[in-house]
Symmetry: C5
Subunit: 302 residues, 5 copies
């Protein structure tokens, strides 16, 4: 996520320079083609690129709207994960009490909170598609060993939480009311996990973005033709400028459709996960708290 208000123009050009160059070449080719072969023979009326431009601006606008909605929905899901993680830790700290077996409760509380952190790191790794073993530091050696045989690790971790919760109830460490409340939190984590995966795995309808790209190219050619008729070589620059507006908006919108990617437009999962980690370790009363994630170049957080 970008955290600066004014981004350098170079960043935008860095994202679009390839398409910019191809567009300049295309505009030049259209200009020369028009100059050599078409001039004096046919004239494209201005209405053609006008109608095209209006329609394309529309379709890009709608695409961007839907892309933004996906991105904001992803952000909301992880906002809910933050809230529910705090509620989980608060419930673990406030409601778990010494049970029938007389065992100390501090290790139980630590295990339930640590395993939740492992769940978060495993989920983040699955969504980002990287760093897949970092979460084991919050598991016991046994658990870390055992979990290697599973692929869908974050799901198994939730199942273990569920199993422990049932044992706490049997042991009278929590009563029925607390059980319902904590069990519903596990269901929420399961739902939020599933919702994240839904956004991750559902490709934004390819035809939408692909057709828009095709239309923009058609528009580039049309506008280059029309401006060639009156502007001479300047038409190359002007056509590129108009196309740049469409292309950069389209690319910009599409950068939001995959909000869990590890790029500058994505949801800052590293930062969010770390903040939850800090909050939960503080609630456990731990000393050794990791530092918050710092922005890259003071420009964005991951």
């Amino acid at each position: 996520m970008l955290i600066v208000r004014n981004i350098r123009i170079t960043r935008i050009l860095k994202n679009t320079w390839q398409v910019d160059i191809i567009m300049l070449i295309t505009c030049s080719l259209v200009y020369f083609f028009h100059n050599e072969f078409v001039k004096y023979h046919i004239e494209i009326p201005a209405i053609v690129p006008t109608v095209m431009g209006t329609a394309i601006a529309f379709f890009i606008g709608f695409n961007n709207n839907q892309a933004y909605d996906r991105w904001w929905e992803a952000r909301k899901i992880w906002g809910a994960i933050v809230n529910d993680s705090r509620s989980w830790a608060r419930s673990v700290m406030s409601y778990v009490q010494q049970g029938n077996d007389g065992a100390a409760i501090a290790p139980v509380q630590q295990r339930l909170v640590y395993r939740h952190l492992a769940f978060l790191y495993a989920l983040k790794a699955a969504l980002r598609g990287a760093d897949t073993n970092g979460y084991t530091r919050y598991l016991t050696d046994d658990e870390a060993e055992h979990i290697r045989s599973y692929t869908n690790t974050h799901n198994i971790l939730l199942q273990w939480q569920s199993r422990d919760l049932k044992m706490l109830l049997a042991n009278n460490s929590i009563d029925g009311f607390r059980f319902i409340q904590m069990d519903s939190l596990l269901t929420k984590f399961s739902d939020e996990m599933g919702m994240s995966e839904r956004i991750k795995k559902t490709v934004f309808p390819t035809t939408y973005s692909y057709l828009t790209k095709v239309f923009i190219w058609i528009f580039v050619v049309a506008i280059a033709f029309v401006t060639s008729q009156t502007m001479g070589p300047w038409s190359i620059f002007i056509s590129w400028l108009l196309s740049f507006i469409f292309v950069s908006t389209q690319i910009n919108g599409m950068s939001l459709v995959d909000p869990f990617e590890n790029n500058v437009a994505g949801i800052p999962l590293n930062q969010i996960t770390r903040n939850i980690e800090i909050d939960l370790l503080q609630m456990l009363g731990e000393e050794d708290i990791p530092a918050p994630i710092t922005p890259v170049n003071g420009e964005y957080v991951l």
Copy 2:
């Protein structure tokens, strides 16, 4: 669901070649008609197709927006089915315990999870309108025999789950709190089933899509007339190009209004159902796990 970012232009032409040819013919007819009869007599001002084009771009944009919302709503419903299926299996595995009758719980757990898989396959078959007997492999022979007399099979399967749940409660295999929680999952499955059927059975207002098609044809004729006035035979190509933008966007949008169809734009029910199947069988500790659905041509999943 398409999973590639760049689709072949042939795919788009494959979807639109019929209408493309009819449009080219129409544009040609308009051109010749204009050339023979209209030229020098009347002139259509450019404003006519401009206003038409703007208005039609708008109406297509709104249609696409609503089509996308239907598609995304369908995807959310099946995302919720994924989450709730996992919660169902987790509840079955964690909460069902030996009851008063002293019977083993593993077969009970297997039956409840297997029957849920049968429910999913029956629901998928009903939504896709095909493959209607595949789900019986997750039923006992008795059940498979018995269910033949019903038409609304997925509804009956839910009713059987409800009946078993009541027996588990009577048998003390689950207590009242767990009963409420698992019963509410059955209600959720019932709701998600109903919501899928609502989208499946509610035709997107026909007048919307039909009128838009009529308007596009009016626009084709108007733009062909206007471009004929200045561009000669090239007007045929240019008019077709403009119409292509409208037609392909409209067709593309309409491909999303029936998200449960068994086509490349639909929600990948095969893949989602199989993934749930894999997750649930793993949670049961089964050995014989089916493979995930692989994309067709590396291009889309069904």
Copy 3:
């Protein structure tokens, strides 16, 4: 609800022929007025109808969007009624058991399900404003007699369900947990009834649709003037064509704002209610099941 993809153009003309004729007359009057009095004196610049057309397309688009949302909300409410009706029957069949009074439970179950069907038919009749006595066939003679003294019949039927539920609890036919679950279903029916009535009774802001109509007429006159300047008598046809696009979209959108009307654009309450009736009677194990509603002319269902 229309169920065909391609509707006959005659249907659209049937909905708009009156306004079409008035528009043709208006365009003709403008043409002759322009020809006789205005020509050579003043010229309306093309920008006037262009700006008008863009603005009106916008306002129509927004109106249609809101009309569609109303329609889809109504459809969702009745989708929820389908789901909750099934849940009601499933609960009645699975949870009601022999109580302290030793009476048979089958008649009780039948009464609770029958009365729910009466509720649905009474609600449908109130929303459609017709067929108000059909629901009494699912009531006992006593109830049918007694209900005549009430105006808001569907509300009274819910109150009777509530009263019976309380008696079942007192009689130990259902326990506290089941009572809560079934009582919350009654609350849902009450909410869905209220939401249907809200849509039924809330007039879509009249000024919105009225102003749009006024604007379209202003546009017709303006475009007829402008095209008269260059096109001669053809301007009558062209102006009508442009206006037709606006008028038919507007009329089409407005046909969705009252989704409970008994017309081809409305939610098919007859079909939905009958489907629930079939499902619920099957769950009761009845023999004499009514047939589903068949489409009218194979074209739409009511």
Copy 4:
């Protein structure tokens, strides 16, 4: 709320006549200024008002959309109040039973329902900012006396309901399950009260509506200049007509942003409250039922 489909044009002119006159004067001034000083010197290209008009149509469209959403949200809140009021009365009638003190339950039921009606009338009065003492007819003399010392009367009435509910529980007139259900209804009333107040007290961002007004005036001047160039004095009429489209749409949209005002566009709180009153008194079995609110001039209800 207007209840007629076709409103008299006079109503629209009544809402806009002041601005209409100012606009006609402005257009005339622009025309004369252009005629005397500008003509032959400079020419404003048509593109200027075209771009302005498109942009302004957009911004008005978005404003209207948000205004409509506010209005519909307000209507939904009061629809929920209707539903929950009926549920409250149904719960009071079905669940309250003779308690430990052996007192009759009819007066208790009447008090709980009457006080709810007082709450509704007090809330309506606060939202409408008028008629603040009508609600006391549903309070006992003691209560009516006591409540004078409070400002936020509707909040206090809810607190009294809460206090009574607690006494009913202590008295065994309702059991724990019923208490939870009825208490959650009180929370809903509190939420709906708060949501109504949120809409009432939150001013729609002034800059939005103000800027749009400023833009419309800029547009009026620009279009008057441009049409003056070709149309002579007719430009006054045409400019006013175009501006009328923008101004009346803007005024119309803004009439919805304050849905609780006591005007023709507002939510008909009088009608809704009276309907609840009728329903609830009927459920109590009262004889003396007030008549429904009748429309004013057959044109709108308040």
Copy 5:
């Protein structure tokens, strides 16, 4: 939040004067550059700024829509905080009763309500980034001392409420049903806190607003060029006017994306918090009630 309907034009100019001046200078430079070097050589067709203007109006419209949604979501969250705070106080006053330890309940009630006020003031301070110690007046000296060692103060205050609630349950001051209800309120406060922080910390996608700004500058230059061709020096004024419409709408929209900032467009957190404070202190029966927040200059509240 602005509370006046007509804001002074000076306020708008105050927000935009810097950019206005830069724009006037830019337009002048373009005019002179065009006059000296470009005139008679090349002509930019009007279609270029037309298409640009339409596209930019679109993108600004979408941005504003999303900004408004953020602002309204923030307002809804704080509306929910108002409702839940009242429910909290109502629950504390109605449900807490003398427990096993025989201690007086008034101090307990006061502590629970006071600490909630401290929570609100701490949350407000964190969102506004100011006035961070005002909340301690609602804490005991011990608590105020103790809380200094924490950074995330509002989270700790919720944890203390949770701890006290558990003690009340153990002490039989509240029973299990009341515990669930009050505990769920604490979870709601935690969620609302998290949702506020999500909006506060999530930067609105910088590329959106930045690109829009870049596009507006491109548009300014283009429109200045085009108007220079026909209007002479007046093009400077006209270009600035057109740009002003875009720039002020864009700036206005962006003023809503950070709704918790301490500026005139923000949510009036001071006013809302104070109103809750007044309501809650009145419910406690206190004498010394602070006055409501008064608007600044009668123009806006903070």
